[in-house]
């Protein structure tokens, strides 16, 4: 996929505060000089300023998929690193920028790392200073590493940041997988009884954020929470990157304000509203929705399902299915892929996902009656919540949203018809 | 007196061989995940554990008299370090190796919650080496091992363990094997 930026890089923002694109203000493939010219140096803050407070006030949420409050994760590590009275020494904290981007439909992290690596580095450094962190890592696919190494070499303050080559696997980006990759060299998610903040890498307090989250942290550290909230809505402040893919004129990464209308995002990507059947928001672990009237809501919106008019952006994927295409067939292919991506550690995931994929495949092929729909529901119940990572849950969400959104197609298929072929299956 | 000790050691050794065999067979059965008609999985697991512990007790009964017996000339070092003994050093050495392995298997079994699964499993596999060593030792060392009943007993134990081992490596060994190969849906019912 090509790494296109649709947002206009802003030429020389006078105040040093970019007004257009926030994350790509330094232009394409920005070096350190261009980065400093666009964003200015990191200001020296007074004693009463704290990054934790700014993050809390900013309302920034994780941009990797789970959409958890960035401040809460930060505060948990902050708490864990201070030796409790009776606890042993926790060890110095570990910060990891996660750019593994295992989601096949997403390429916004690659785009960000290619064009604005210095924002990610700045974010890590700002947090390292606030947390007294011991080890800093950037974890990304092999293709990203040379440019990242060059960016690190360009500046004297980032020599201690280490690069890690992420394996090319769907679950390699799960944060517990990142930590086990550091420890064992294998990116397998592990059973998480506690939080990584209380004991991740070598039992040290560990903060794993998506690379885009780190870039936003860099900007909050520079310009503060008020500036961050100037874009987006009260519930979903700031901007986010979305990868627009599927039946689109060209696949692009867009930077959009929180709470953007989905049809507006599609229009920016050059997609005509009446050409769209449905949109998969959030990627293979996301949800299918009909775009009209739906808002890309914040990660924190409770139960942010389409019924509330807002859908969680997850990993920031907006995948378009053109009118006339079969959503069930598309979903069946995705579930097949997801079943193949199980790390095969957890029984219900290892056996349940292939069974679910098989049932979806039969449904898409129109082989079976109404009992097939019940079977999909039953199998979904058997895998949901029963894995060490969210892979089964994400898959169940995809399947559930497909059955809802494509309810008409389900009826057609059970009758042996398909909209895509316009006739018999 | 020495004769009594000698006889006691031999009988304990024979009983221990039977217990060890029972423990290995039960171990394989628990590994398959299958219950017996009258014995649920939990009981099989407890039986496996308790028979193994009983085997340790009988091993003590087997070895202690030899230490006390002047004629056998076995000392503490011979009990743990193989192939030093003065009487049938090779066959006795096999017994010593089996004893060491058994100690390791039992100790890691009891401490598995502390040691973690990897260590426990790796050491537990040694049971498959321990059993043939113990049998070879009892046949090779036994004073009347060539008598017809002794040979018959050894053959019966061998056949039992070999059959269990063959079952262990067969495709349908696990209770869940069929269901996991995509066989017909199975209703496990109330356990």
């Amino acid at each position: 996929m090509s790494a296109a930026i649709a947002t206009e890089p802003l030429a020389g923002a006078p105040s040093g505060r970019p007004a257009g694109s926030r994350l790509f203000a330094a232009g394409a493939a920005a070096g350190h000089a261009a980065h400093l010219a666009a964003y200015g140096p990191v200001p020296r803050h007074g004693r009463d300023w704290s990054l934790a407070q700014e993050l809390e006030a900013s309302g920034l949420t994780g941009r990797g998929g789970a959409g958890f409050s960035a401040w809460r994760k930060f505060a948990a590590v902050d708490r864990a690193r201070r030796p409790a009275r009776y606890a042993g020494r926790a060890g110095r904290s570990v910060l990891i920028a996660n750019g593994a981007e295992g989601e096949p439909l997403s390429f916004k992290d690659a785009t960000l790392l290619h064009n604005a690596p210095h924002l990610v580095i700045d974010g890590l450094l700002a947090a390292a200073e606030a947390l007294g962190a011991g080890s800093l890592f950037i974890y990304a696919g092999a293709a990203r590493l040379p440019a990242l190494a060059a960016a690190l070499a360009e500046r004297s303050d980032a020599r201690h940041i280490a690069l890690l080559e992420a394996p090319d696997a769907f679950v390699a980006g799960q944060s517990s997988a990142v930590v086990s990759f550091l420890e064992t060299g294998r990116a397998l998610p592990r059973d998480v009884a506690g939080r990584l903040a209380d004991g991740g890498f070598q039992g040290r307090p560990t903060l794993v954020h998506n690379v885009e989250t780190w870039a936003h942290i860099a900007l909050v550290a520079r310009y503060g929470a008020g500036w961050f909230r100037a874009e987006g809505t009260a519930e979903d402040p700031g901007t986010r990157l979305v990868s627009v893919t599927g039946d689109v004129p060209s696949e692009v990464v867009l930077e959009v304000p929180g709470g953007s209308r989905l049809d507006g995002v599609l229009a920016s990507a050059g997609v005509a509203g009446d050409a769209v059947s449905a949109v998969l928001v959030g990627g293979y672990h996301g949800r299918w929705v009909r775009p009209s009237g739906v808002v890309l809501g914040g990660g924190g919106v409770p139960g942010g399902g389409p019924e509330s008019g807002s859908v969680r952006p997850g990993a920031g994927v907006v995948h378009v299915l053109a009118r006339g295409r079969c959503g069930l067939a598309a979903t069946a292919r995705m579930v097949e892929y997801l079943a193949g991506q199980s790390a095969r550690q957890c029984g219900p995931c290892m056996f349940g996902l292939p069974a679910l994929a098989g049932a979806m495949e039969r449904l898409a092929a129109g082989r079976g009656g109404p009992e097939l729909v019940r079977e999909v529901g039953r199998l979904s119940g058997l895998v949901a919540g029963r894995g060490a990572c969210h892979h089964p849950d994400g898959t169940v969400q995809l399947v559930g949203s497909a059955l809802e959104t494509f309810a008409d197609d389900v009826r057609w298929h059970l009758a042996g018809q398909c909209q895509e072929t316009g006739g018999a299956l | 007196m020495d004769d009594a000790l000698w006889a006691f050691a031999r009988v304990s050794g024979l009983v221990d061989m039977v217990l060890l065999t029972g423990s290995v067979l039960l171990g394989i059965l628990t590994r398959s995940g299958r219950p017996l008609p009258a014995l649920p999985r939990v009981s099989l697991m407890l039986l496996h554990r308790n028979i193994s512990l009983l085997a340790v007790v009988f091993l003590v009964f087997h070895v202690a008299p030899l230490l006390l017996d002047a004629y056998a000339r076995v000392n503490l070092v011979d009990v743990v370090v193989p192939f030093l003994g003065s009487y049938k050093a090779f066959w006795q050495g096999l017994g010593t190796v089996a004893l060491d392995l058994m100690a390791a298997v039992v100790a890691t079994g009891l401490l598995r919650h502390r040691l973690g699964r990897r260590t426990f499993r790796a050491v537990h596999w040694l049971s498959y080496a321990m059993w043939p060593l113990a049998l070879a030792h009892s046949v090779g060392n036994g004073t009347d091992a060539t008598s017809a009943p002794a040979v018959a007993a050894a053959v019966v134990l061998c056949v039992a363990v070999l059959a269990a081992a063959a079952w262990r490596v067969s495709a349908g060994f696990l209770e869940t094997a069929d269901a996991r190969r995509g066989g017909a849906r199975r209703d496990w019912g109330r356990p």
Partner: protein
């Protein structure tokens, strides 16, 4: 399940469990088995998705749960707070 909420929870580490079915024998009210033999929280026990891996237990089941933790051949079980 008592109205006051669970007394404790049984956490299942899916990366360890091999569905040998000892825990399901010991806790027949709380656990059944799924299609592949893995322990499955009884229908009434799962209110939130996380309950599927952290099965709520009544006070009366605690003893059996402790036995299950001790006997699980794969060390896949742990008792956690409510």
């Amino acid at each position: 399940m008592s109205v006051a909420g669970p007394a404790a929870r049984l956490h299942i580490d899916w990366t360890m469990c091999d569905g040998r079915g000892l825990c399901t024998e010991l806790l027949p009210e709380a656990l059944t088995r799924d299609d592949w033999g893995y322990p499955l929280a009884a229908p009434g026990r799962v209110r939130a998705r996380a309950d599927a891996s952290n099965v709520p237990l009544t006070g009366a089941e605690l003893g059996a749960a402790v036995d299950a933790v001790k006997l699980c051949p794969l060390l896949a079980l742990r008792i956690t707070g409510p």
